[in-house]
Amino acid sequence: MAQADATMMGGAGASSGTEKLVTAEGVPLKRALERAQRRRKLMAFALVVPLLAFILTVFVFPIAQMMWLSVKNDQIVNAIPRTLEELRDWDGRELPDEAVFAALHADLMEDLERPRREQATGPMGIRLNYELSAARSAVSRTARAASGFEAPYKEAFIDAHRLWGDPELWRIIKREGRPLTASYYVAALDRQYDEDGRIVQRDENRRIYVSLFGRTLMLSVIITGMTFLLGFPIAFYMSILPMRHANLLMICVLLPFWTSLLVRTSAWIVLLQQQGVINTGLVTLGIIDDENRLSMIYNMTGTIIAMTHILLPFMVLPLYSVMRTIPPSYMRAAKSLGATPWTAFRRVYFPQTLPGIGAGGVLVFIISIGYYITPALVGGQSGRMISNEIARHIQQSLNWGLAAALGTMLLVGVLALYWLYNRLVGADSLKLG
């Protein structure tokens, strides 16, 4: 301590003179403080690093990798580099000439010599098949027979599979023979390339995704609206009750919130299906005939009812926490100044609940726009949403590029909405039950 005191004295003397403040070790005070500050910063950061590294590896990187799949396009480049080189000057009208076919033969022969796991023609066939059905069998059949081909190769290829005589296949090979592609996004927007390489709309009956995005948005708007209509009255009711009663009712809101999603979804199946509780009850009461049971599930109605029920707590909780803070004296003041109850509600009370409505609304909308389970179980055909299509392309049609493109579009939409939510209420105010 004595040493420190001496330094302090020295420092005090220095402040009037030209010398700088120094610590006991003789380091200038400013630098020592900076060093301590940096060490504290590092300490704080070191505490966050493990989780940050974990989330970046297990969560952020996989999603970035998925987004990369939506533009990654190396299948054709890897398989037939020589052919692509020869195709560079092709005009895309008539069939390519013999030189191209010879290059293709050379490429296929080289590929055959690789170990089976590294052969590139398989992925190329799959890639081409996304653009032109039957292309996969053309590639695989020709690859198997290629070792027996002799010049002229053009005829040999067309003999092996007629598709090689179709300029369309060659146009696709030329167009997709680049390491990056936009064609998954083109397909995800219901467009396609025409003969001249321009992007045009698909035929009416092959347009799926734009209307599916539209339906997803519409369902999310309806569900958000329904949760608002049902959530506003009960949040208001709870906010004017004494705390003790309000907490009791809050449990009624939190119990569904905490109950397994699949339990809630199966509850609606039990209630709404043709042989379910509601239909049987209505038949027993004689309100509907046995033959005319209502179809309330496996369609859009089922999705709307079940998702409104599941997402209602997400609307009630922010609404309630905002309404609790609105002093009742404002309404009383408005009424005493001559406003009718309706005017007082509309002009004085309602505007104050807007932050809660915004928070709850955006939250419900964000969640419903990417919902998968409930539409998959109770949605049938008409209640499907975009996430169901993403899952189908990953698990069944195996068109991962298209799934990634649809997923990226959904993700960008959700992140934009979240940014909006953040601007409205701030992420910190996210409350959990």
Binding site: R40, K41, M43, A44, F45, L47, V48, L51, L52, I55, F59, V60, F61, P62, I63, Q65, M66, L230, P233, I234, Y237, I240, L241, I251, C252, L255, P256, W258, T259, S260, L262, V263, R264, T265, S266, V270, L271, Q273, Q275, G276, V277, T280, H309, L312, P341, I366, G370, Y372, I373, L377, S387, A391, I394, G407, L411, V414, L415, L430, L432, G433
Partner: protein, 283 residues
């Protein structure tokens, strides 16, 4: 909501109508969940009340679906899997999440907003996208269809809840307590376990419970990342609903509702205790 004496008839009618509307909405919230409980004791393989049940005839009720649930090998394995995966994922998320929350609540923390955004992103990104990303990633490193893969995925999904609840607990934290401990000669580790930890424990536990319930209830990632070996209870319910829907689902659902009631009670008690400890009024 007692009615003031000056209410006119119109006010009174509105008052009662409003109450009726509110209780109808509460009924809509609770009835679907509660109705499954009696139906799970149905003696018949139907999803509706039989005549015997409505007349309270004992023959109409049975425990056969509970027996089904407990005797089936696949359901039993799913129970084990759910708890194994849930507990392992919770330990990872609670540890990493608490550390990160401690760092984030320090005033010297650089780039707080950005880091917080990244850490809570698993809560915001739609599950289908997280699941798709993890499916591609885990397949490429041979972690798909393994326990480790599902556990890591669930740990990532659970951490935001731990980070948020522990950060919230630390908002009211009196930092002079740790400075006092350090001043009295305690090492940082000792200070953490003796001073900080007991005070933020309610936050850690409720965050961990959120993480556990997230994993316990999670199905989308399981559908993509887990194999047959790692099927959890929700995964088994999913096939039950899609393939052969039987009232066994209702028995499982009833048990899950009871579990969630228990967890809800614990979280609520912890929240009140935490607020009392930090000198806030219970709300």
């Amino acid at each position: 909501m007692s009615m003031p004496a000056y209410y006119t008839t119109k006010d009174k009618i509105w008052h009662y109508t409003f109450r009726v509307i509110c209780f109808a909405i509460f009924f809509f919230l609770l009835a679907p969940i509660l109705i499954m409980i009696p139906l799970s004791f149905n003696a018949q393989p139907f999803f509706t009340f039989t005549r015997e049940m409505l007349t309270l005839n004992p023959d109409g009720f049975s425990l056969r679906w509970y027996q089904d649930f407990l005797e089936s090998a696949s359901w039993r394995r799913s129970i084990q899997n759910s708890f194994l995966i849930g507990i392992a994922a919770t330990i990872i998320s609670a540890t990493l999440g608490t550390l990160a929350a401690l760092g984030l609540s320090r005033s010297e923390m650089p780039a707080k907003g950005l880091i917080m955004g990244i850490l809570i992103s698993p809560m915001i990104v739609p599950l289908i996208i997280s699941a798709a990303g993890m499916f591609f990633f885990f397949s490429s490193i041979n972690l798909a269809q393994t326990y480790l893969g599902v556990i890591l995925a669930h740990a990532a999904l659970g951490t935001p809840f731990v980070v948020i609840t522990v950060t919230a607990t630390l908002v009211g934290f009196d930092h002079s307590l740790t400075r006092a401990a350090a001043n009295l000669g305690a090492s940082p580790t000792r200070t953490f376990f003796k001073i900080t930890m007991p005070l933020i424990l309610p936050g850690i536990i409720s965050g961990a419970l959120f993480a556990f319930i997230t994993s316990f209830d999670e199905i989308v990632v399981v559908l993509f990342v887990a194999g047959v070996e790692q099927r959890t209870i929700p995964r088994e319910m999913w096939s039950g609903i899609r393939e052969d829907i039987s009232p066994t689902i209702l028995a499982v659902a009833t048990i899950l509702v009871l579990i969630s009631v228990a967890l809800l009670t614990v979280v609520e008690l912890l929240r009140r205790r935490g607020e009392r400890l930090r000198g806030m009024s219970p709300g």
